[in-house]
Symmetry: C2
Amino acid sequence: MSNPKQVTIVEVAAAAGVSIATVSNVLNRGGIRSSKETIRKVELAAEQLGYRRNTNAAGLSRNKTFEIGLIVPVLGGYYGQLAEQLQLEAHRAGYHLSVFSSGGFDPAIERRNLEVLLQRRVDGLICHGLAMGFESTRSIVNSGTPLVLINGWGWPEDIALGAVNLGFSEACRQSTKLLADRGCDLLVYVGNKHSKVIDGQRRQGFETGIAQLSSPIPHQFVDTKDLDMERFLQELMMGPAKRVGIMAFDDYVALRLLSMANKLKIDMPDRLQLIGINNDSVSSHAYPSISTWDIPYYLQANTAISKLLHKFGHNVATCEEREFEVPLTFIERETTKI
Amino acid sequence: MSNPKQVTIVEVAAAAGVSIATVSNVLNRGGIRSSKETIRKVELAAEQLGYRRNTNAAGLSRNKTFEIGLIVPVLGGYYGQLAEQLQLEAHRAGYHLSVFSSGGFDPAIERRNLEVLLQRRVDGLICHGLAMGFESTRSIVNSGTPLVLINGWGWPEDIALGAVNLGFSEACRQSTKLLADRGCDLLVYVGNKHSKVIDGQRRQGFETGIAQLSSPIPHQFVDTKDLDMERFLQELMMGPAKRVGIMAFDDYVALRLLSMANKLKIDMPDRLQLIGINNDSVSSHAYPSISTWDIPYYLQANTAISKLLHKFGHNVATCEEREFEVPLTFIERETTKI
DNA sequence: CTGTTAGCGCATTCAG
DNA sequence: CTGAATGCGCTAACAG
């Protein structure tokens, strides 16, 4: 017995001198109206007794919890921003959002949290960058709970309702063009294979961009993990390239490159140009400030929630496509401006 | 009717040819043992039918949810790290943690989330930097749900079980000494009044430190909000001080100062020294890298959860003090090393 | 309009 | 060891 017994509608009913059904009616403002008098009495009694509805009981009774579960890899940066926005959108629709972290792509934790959410009978699920594979996910989530993926490319229809994906690929594609236009004669993508699928999208966009260049430019791929940044930049500067353009995995990777460039006194943007992704606050506060791609959190969150609401039967406009791609917008700052 | 009807113990019982009570027993590994044979039958049936326990119903029935609610001002940086750690500790104790954000100290959102959590009958609550005042909080949380505060100084006993606070004050106090030792002849605290109570702690520690200096050093207070950093740093450099020591509100503020200093080509650490707080990843990746105070997340999370567990009746060691202060540890980096 | 009743899914006595 | 019965707090018909 954890809590010292909370007030229930039974007590409120007694205090107000009405039946529990009446209490339930007035307190939830259902279709049924009550007389002014009873409303007053009930509200007063509820107020005085400090009544607080037990939503678990309510959910049990009507088989609907008005809860949406969210699982993100980590509570910070881009994921955190998204979560905030999702919470807002959920609230707007009368739901609440419970946020869980998979502890940095840990499949075990992710799985546990998924299980917890399902056991809570959440009405819907939003998952970002599922670390588990198709099969694993399917076996867990086949209960009929609607699932919307964020940044989930090519997931089977029987698992997820749909997905809202960020246009990383396109952003990276355009970045190569942009860096080429700015006069870069060597292009490099500094990835992060830790975030497997997202890294894949970015890399692919970069490759596509390279292939579409009007005049070919040498390029290379490296990964943050096995990279000695200092040595890497030094060699770049001693190489034949007059101006190197780097597409960084995200703003944090960009910041690290930028810091090292500062240390090596590399002239930015003359000898080195840099583009990040996310428009994290660090990108604008760094010196020089980092050009980056901004994420339309509102659009992202709104479409994700809308997909769920639609499934719930709410009458909302929602895109038909299963995989909706939201475009990023370029924010030009000092690392590329010439 | 949101979900297309989930499997219940009734069906499992039928399939296994036993009663629901038996199912409940074997599935929850309660005190009561069952025969090997029934265990097998039940587990098989549950497995095949894809049974998943409805924790809401279970919670309703035993008046215990094994859920802990967490409210943080924002899902990112320090707060995010803490949330991750709290989730871990909660898991370890057999609870799960639902994370909510108050959307950046928004009292309305905070209040709504608190209410939601209370209505869900969470077993316990952990709140970080409550935006609402004493009275407001008391009126909401007086239901008997145990509440532990993080960074809540001087809260009345009838509201919160206790608090675990970070030693910001002490860290700032020591920082002044340190900057003085490094030869700074002007000390300034760049605060952030947006985070009222935390800013207060830091400022106070800074003041104390100043007062305790063996030989007095001129000092000043400014606030991030109404500060033109460029002009501010320029004037500092043109002033009489040979070496300025800045205690920044946190690593992000420090990064902004550092970036501006880089832009103005101010020599760090010779003419300007800088200390941040939080040991955020940016502090180590900036150039020059930022000296800062590291937060013992594990200790923080562990004591917070322990306080709750203790209240729940679990037999755990827990500190007696109502307000437990966890000390920060200094990480020296290039902005102060000479 | 208001009260009565029958569940929601599960845990928990208390008899067999 | 197992099962029938009761209740957790609330909602949803359905009667009055």
